[in-house]
């Protein structure tokens, strides 16, 4: 790439790493045990 002659150099130490972290897989939501419905008397 034609970007011309160098002018100066410097050091960048990012406060936040510019590489996005892998999102941790979210655990499956805990489900309350559901009591089976009682059949209505016919």
């Amino acid at each position: 790439m034609e970007i011309g002659k160098p002018k100066r150099s410097y050091i960048v130490e990012p406060a936040q790493r510019p590489v996005p972290e892998e999102r941790p897989a979210s655990p499956a939501p805990a489900r309350e045990p559901v009591a089976p419905k009682k059949a209505k008397p016919v």
């Binding site: 011309g4 410097y10 050091i11 960048v12």
Partner: protein, 185 residues
């Protein structure tokens, strides 16, 4: 890194990438030296210029410096404008044969950090990672890019914003579309 930092925000510039199919997935590849940019990993620059030895010029010696160095041309490149980077979307640019199936070419912004050499019209950095990826829906040859949605979806593996950009086959139109989008017009 032993020197005290001058900045804490990465330098952000423009560049183009090839998109190649690697292990069944679309991956960014540098246009000139074909370095593969892996998702979730920064690209670390190294000087690839082997120079002739002084006494035995038919033999070459490896680089004796880390990249980038001001007096060398090494480092990961970024341009200071869309227009300057867009030239590298040209499908007729001659380079070394690519080792992987070529899917297309994309444009984007790249973060540079570590040691950065500021040049007249851009920068060269020691560490780099894509910051935003724009996928043109039309190739430089004026034809629609095939499977463009799949390419864009695959590039989300980099976990940075990926956008489709409409434009005709002229670089000016693509630059205008991007400028409008960036300014919110």
């Amino acid at each position: 890194m032993s020197a005290a930092p001058d900045y804490v925000d990465p330098t952000v510039g423009w560049r183009c990438w090839l998109v190649a199919e690697i292990r069944g997935q679309p991956r960014l590849v540098s246009v000139v030296y074909h370095a593969v940019w892996e998702p979730g990993q920064e690209l670390k620059a190294e000087c690839l210029r082997w120079r002739p030895q002084l006494l035995r010029p038919w033999r070459r010696r490896p680089p004796d410096h880390g990249a980038p160095r001001g007096r060398c041309s090494c480092g990961v490149y970024a341009a200071d404008s869309i227009e300057r980077a867009l030239v590298y979307l040209d499908p007729y640019l001659e380079h070394e044969p690519l080792r992987f199936p070529l899917l297309g070419r994309v444009l984007g912004r790249v973060s540079l950090w570590g040691r950065v050499v500021e040049c007249e019209r851009g920068w060269r950095g020691s560490h780099a990672y894509p910051e935003h990826i724009y996928v043109p829906t039309t190739g430089g040859d004026g034809k629609p890019v095939s499977h463009v949605e799949e390419i864009a979806l695959g590039l989300t593996d980099y976990r940075v914003p990926v956008e489709l950009v409409d434009g005709d086959d002229s670089y000016g139109a693509l630059a205008d579309a991007l400028s409008l989008r960036l300014t919110g017009g």
